[in-house]
């Protein structure tokens, strides 16, 4: 019964993938939406059931070898059930949105898009619901594949395909580490089943466990775009906006966080591992938010924001606060998806030509609904009361102050930057001069209702979900108090950020152009992501290419081809030699010799025929002599 939750998207994928061509684009979209909706509907009873008592559903035995059997199964506990419902809900909304967004591409085999989306949903649900690491790994790989397919959906653009490659390869590096993590877990625990692992976790040596945990976290780093495997996430914006909204903000990149939360008992027993998690999370959070302040691409700013918020989630996990991290994940899914959908609405309004925030301006009066939803999302992201972000971010700030004052200040600074950059984007796009007038021919208009409705739903969610905090925490058996002083200070910091953005970009108290010129080296560094992207693309990738080429030349061309050619050459030499020896010297000699001998002998023998009569008579005499001799011999 619960199996249907993951089967609906799988079914949708198969139907659309196999028959999409015949069905057509719009029916395929509807099938995808149906799949997602049905999963959501079915996840609710499962959720209710899981809240009371967690339960497992066994699917089937996969491979059995001797003592252990690899199985596939589902595990519903509050964490996984809530996340499942969240994922299904957000997916459904985004699927519906995408019907409007991709409408202009209908007729160009857009059914593929929906097939990939359904595949993604199926894999994501596998990650969330799997009861053992093997199923989780299947899902892990599946979302990586879907991400690759979807980022590179506009496959005629080289930038898109390169980005897809980059995403897939970095994911792969993470997956490789993750796989080794799974191997070590199996080695240490003798099983991949989550419940079995949780029960045995106290018995294992913490140092070995620490190593396994680091490897597992490596997978999360790759999947969630944390430093150092981060350069793919901004470039993944090459895909269509629904993809950015779904995969690269609310769900797929959240899988890393989810995985750490899921395996939290293991992580908790290896404190060194958690320290690393926090360190990387914090580093990424700061790094990404600095980059977001200096970028101007509409979607990239939001992407960096995702990276930064994920960093905060990892930081929270690292300092021991799993429930805050998961709650922030939940709220973040709402407002980040909302922000992306709003951005998508703007891009769609300009018929997919708009890219840069400075290409548009003053959209407030043209697209009021988008304006409203965007700012709801922005407020939620900034963490302003009463929006959802406030509740979850406040929890994290509180935990970090508990872990250390410096850490708390650090997180507050990141929040300040967050508020600043998102409102910078909002103010530039919706206020100010209408820069698009000269740029684009199209008059911007509001999005069609098929796009607007999901946005509004998400906006409502971003506003309201925060109030579920208490219920969420009790579901995860973690009760938190609200610290009033921290709450007020975090809101104040957020308002400071907003205010700064307002001053610079709306009121023009500080001229952005002059600031830009004077701070150029600083923000170039931020912009280039501290030159990591350059380093990776030019240094690693190019260097590896050159190395491969060099090895190819040396190994393949020189050694192997040389060896083959040498063999070839030798073979011909040998054959030629044999031919000369055997054929020319022996056979030919023999054959020619016979001919020559016959010829010479014949010529000499022909000398008998002198033509002289007298000689012939002599021969007669000789013959007579011989004959008589014979007769005498036989007579005597």
């Amino acid at each position: 019964m619960e199996v249907l939750i993951i089967l609906f998207p799988l079914l949708a994928f198969l139907l659309v993938g196999l028959f999409g061509r015949r069905l057509g684009d719009l029916p395929s979209a509807i099938i995808a939406v149906l799949g997602s909706t049905l999963s959501f509907i079915f996840s609710i009873p499962a959720l209710l059931k899981a809240l009371n008592s967690p339960f497992s559903v066994k699917l089937y035995d996969f491979i059995s070898f001797g003592t252990y059997t690899l199985t596939l199964g589902l595990y519903f506990d509050p964490l996984s059930a809530i996340t499942t419902s969240l994922v299904c809900l957000v997916s459904t909304l985004i699927f519906i949105y995408s019907i409007g967004y991709m409408e202009s591409l209908f007729g160009q085999w857009t059914y593929k898009f929906y097939a990939y989306l359904s595949l993604f949903l199926f894999s994501m649900l596998l990650i969330v619901l799997s009861d053992n690491l093997l199923g989780m790994f299947f899902g892990w790989e599946g979302v990586g594949l879907a991400s690759y397919l979807l980022i590179g959906y506009f496959h005629q653009q080289k930038y898109a395909t390169n980005s897809a490659f980059e995403a897939f390869i970095m994911n792969r590096i993470g997956d490789w580490l993750y796989l080794f993590g799974i191997f070590s877990i199996f080695y240490l625990f003798g099983s991949l089943n989550l419940l079995e692992i949780f029960s045995k976790v106290k018995e294992i040596d913490p140092n070995l466990l620490g190593l396994a945990v680091l490897l597992l976290f490596g997978g999360a780093v790759g999947k969630s775009g944390q430093v150092p495997l981060h350069t793919w996430l901004p470039n993944a914006m090459a895909g269509p906006t629904p993809v950015s909204a779904l995969l690269h903000s609310s769900t797929m990149v959240a899988a890393g966080v989810y995985m750490v939360a899921r395996l939290y008992p293991v992580f908790e027993s290896a404190p060194q591992g958690l320290k690393v998690v926090a360190l990387i999370g914090g580093l990424t959070a700061l790094f990404a938010s600095l980059a977001a302040t200096s970028h101007t691409d509409i979607k990239k700013i939001i992407a960096f924001s995702t990276m930064s918020q994920l960093g905060l989630m990892f930081l929270a996990l690292g300092i021991g606060d799993k429930s805050s991290a998961m709650f922030h994940l939940t709220t973040h899914a709402f407002f980040k998806a909302l922000l992306f959908l709003s951005a998508g609405s703007i891009i769609h309004a300009f018929h997919h030509h708009a890219r840069d925030i400075y290409e548009v301006g003053g959209l407030k009066k043209h697209m009021p609904i988008t304006y409203a939803t965007f700012f709801v999302g922005a407020l939620a992201l900034a963490g302003v009361f009463p929006f959802a972000g406030f509740w979850s971010k406040d929890l994290i700030i509180a935990s970090s102050y508990e872990a250390g004052f410096g850490l708390g200040v650090f997180v507050s600074f990141v929040s300040f930057l967050t508020a600043y950059y998102i409102f910078r984007e909002g103010f530039v796009m919706f206020y100010g001069p209408e820069r698009h007038k000269g740029h684009f021919e199209e008059e911007p208009h509001e999005a069609p209702s098929v796009m607007v409705v999901p946005m509004v739903v998400l906006a409502i969610g971003s506003a309201v979900v925060g109030f579920f905090e208490g219920w969420y925490m009790s579901a995860l058996e973690d009760n938190k108090e609200m610290h009033l002083d921290i709450a007020i200070s975090s809101v104040a910091i957020a308002l400071l950020g907003i205010g700064l953005a307002y001053l610079v970009f709306v009121k023009r108290s500080l001229d952005p152009e002059k600031l830009y010129q004077s701070l150029k080296p600083v923000h170039t560094t931020f912009r280039e992501q501290f030159f990591t992207e350059r380093l990776y693309h030019k240094g690693l990738a190019k260097g590896y290419m050159e190395l491969s080429k060099g090895l190819f030349l040396a190994g393949d061309r020189f050694l192997i081809d040389g060896f083959i050619n040498l063999l070839n050459f030798l073979y011909f030499r040998v054959v030629k030699f044999l031919w000369v020896k055997l054929d020319i010297y022996t056979l030919d000699l023999f054959v020619n010799g016979v001919a020559k001998f016959s010829f010479r002998f014949g010529r000499k023998a022909s000398l008998i025929q002198t033509g002289l009569l007298n000689n012939y008579v002599a021969f007669l005499l000789f013959g007579l002599f011989v004959l008589l001799g014979i007769i005498i011999y036989f007579m005597g």
Binding site: S606, Q609, G611, L612, L613, N614, V617, A618, L620, L621
Partner: protein
């Protein structure tokens, strides 16, 4: 009276025959070759007649008669050929008639 022994006839025949063949080998002149042929034939005749006298038969003599007749024919034709050769080629020694040699 004492008969001439058979061996005498035969030895004489043999010697004569050998001389005849030897003459055929040695002599260069065509006519001389023919004459040596006559010699050999005569030797054979002697042998026949000698054997005949010993055996008391006359068959050998008849055969010797035939040989004489045929030898005459052969001499006639041979000489005719020699005359023709001489008319044609103006040669009379056998060493210039080696056209059939190889």
């Amino acid at each position: 009276m004492k008969m001439v022994p058979l061996e005498a006839y035969l030895i004489l025949s043999l010697l004569l025959f050998g001389l005849g063949v030897f003459g055929m080998i040695v002599r260069r002149n065509l006519v001389a070759i023919l004459m040596s042929t006559e010699l050999a034939l005569n030797a054979v005749n002697i042998a026949f007649v000698g054997a005949d006298s010993h055996l008391g038969l006359v068959d050998g003599q008849i055969f010797a008669l035939f040989i004489i007749a045929l030898a005459a024919v052969e001499a006639a034709i041979g000489l005719g050929i020699i005359v023709a050769i001489f008319r044609l080629r103006k040669v009379e020694s056998s060493d210039e008639l080696t056209d059939m040699g190889g």
